[in-house]
Symmetry: C2
Subunit: 317 residues, 2 copies
């Protein structure tokens, strides 16, 4: 039929991405309502909260209560995001409910690293050794490498493909040195600089050098290209994507400038299923979640299929 993959795996990040960025307070019960609904759709990995300083991210002040409040569904991995040891310690307090796994993370933009973490690229790399040891000491598997700003950076500009290849090598070296085997490496278009052509070139360069390394894509839709970027990834055989239900994660409407959320989950599922790529996700149930998300945040969200509808009713008629 085509050279596209037979199946993909989507990690849902909408509840974390979305509720983190919303300006108004969202009731803990409503966050839990969305997460529990998402867990009924066939999604088997859902990032639900971030353990960060509530002074910086007030929307995540109730992260512990959210984790405690969900009705865990067997077979679904609920994950959290943390940015430092303190956040990791909080996540580990929920080890009975959360699937905590470690990431070796580098950033393709040194300027971004310096600005956000006050770390040079060398310091950033050096720090990963301690982080891997921290995970090992805690008995947490280190499964993933991740390269932030892999396609461009608002502070540094375009990122050459060669740098992504070099950072991939560094990540694999850190993993080897500490005896951990990564399942995949995520290329994150953190600031929405990617194009489908850049996706093909960058994924292709990593694939050429390490044919056995699985690549995942974390795409943002700030400039409307996320779904085209995802398609380019599919054409390159990428089978792992992060996504956000309804496109949660940004405030692109009502005149709010700035970053948009991840590629919209239900639009991505629609794209895949219509091209014969299995997602394991019930699209109708997911669209109901997208509508629920819109109700919870109280303003329109950018997802398209949730408004335009699927083709099912027309095919059935």
């Amino acid at each position: 039929m085509s050279d596209l993959p037979a199946a993909v795996h989507i990690t849902e990040e909408g509840s974390r991405e979305g509720f983190q960025i919303e300006k108004g307070p969202i009731a803990t019960a409503r966050k839990i309502e969305l997460i529990d609904a998402l867990s009924q759709t066939g999604l088997d990995r859902i990032q639900i909260v971030s353990f960060v300083n509530p002074k910086n991210v007030p929307g995540m002040a109730d992260a512990d209560a959210v984790v405690d409040g969900i009705a865990p569904r067997p077979g679904v991995a609920y994950t959290a995001l943390w940015l430092n040891e303190k956040g990791f310690a909080r996540a580990m307090q929920h080890a009975n409910r959360l699937t905590n796994t470690g990431t070796i993370q580098l950033c393709a933009s040194e300027k971004f690293s310096i600005r956000n973490q006050n770390r040079t690229a060398a310091q950033q790399l050096a720090g990963q050794h301690a982080i891997v040891e921290m995970y090992k000491a805690a008995g947490v598997p280190v499964e993933r490498g991740s390269i932030m700003a892999a396609f461009g950076c608002n502070f540094e500009g375009d990122i050459p493909v060669s740098r992504v290849v070099a950072l991939t090598q560094q990540i694999l070296d850190v993993a080897a040195e500490h005896g951990v085997t990564l399942n995949y490496i995520t290329l994150a278009d953190t600031m929405a600089w990617a194009t489908p052509l850049a996706i093909k070139r960058t994924v292709g360069a990593v694939r050429d050098r390490w044919p056995d390394v699985d690549v995942a894509l974390h795409l943002h839709d700030t400039r409307g290209l996320a779904i085209a970027d995802a398609y380019a990834g599919l054409e390159m055989g990428v089978t792992r994507f992060d996504a956000a239900v309804a496109g949660l994660g940004g405030c692109p409407f009502a005149g709010h400038a700035g970053a948009a959320g991840n590629v919209c989950t239900e639009d991505l599922v629609f794209l895949c299923e219509e091209m014969g790529i299995a997602t394991g996700i019930d699209l109708d149930a997911l669209i109901d979640c997208a509508k629920l998300a819109e109700d919870i945040v109280g303003h329109p969200l950018p997802g398209a299929v949730m408004k335009g509808g699927t083709l099912k009713r027309f095919r059935a008629a």
Copy 2:
């Protein structure tokens, strides 16, 4: 660099698509304001009005006044849409301002034709002969073939690729019989059923059979795939696209279900220019038009780059 085309040509349809569908009345002067702004961006073909029954489409009741009111810019072709002889006659009354060209148009869905025009596929085809003669008698060049619902239909379901190939043959036969040479054939995803894979298969089938026939794509974004479909078209070497500034043409927000507009012009320009494909369009000026369009319709429009911004300021910094 890549196998993508070096340049593309975009026909702007936003003012016609958008103002036709808006529920509230839009002042004639504001329509003219947008069209005149669009003419300053480098766009050289702008569909500005449709000559249709004002009882059916009240938003186009002022079509004559719009045509009379614009400040025609040399080098820009202003076009109109019509659905019958009466509409064509109205367009011809503006032959000094409008670039009127003929289209041989078929529909891939017989059910859609029957429903909308009360014509079978055979009647539809037969009617094209009279239409071409009408154009010839009026001294209007017949430049284009067009296949509506080429990728699927809400009333008939999926459209097989073989039908698009057969209809292309019929269009070329009509053209040959009347001694006209078409510049290109538009495949229209009228009801937003296309996927990038379907674009590749359908364009590929037409291209295989008629390597010299230029294919254009008319894409709708109802299910969020228009930009990915456009990218698939670019990968197939398609260099002609219809598009709508700001994604004008639908009411996907504020709970309005239903069809969305054409692929968003400035998002398509961003996609192309970022991949090294020349459009001849000033993206910043076009984004200003998109913001103007949003101001005119008075509600958020779906375009992404108009909200997220281009990468220019970051590269300049």
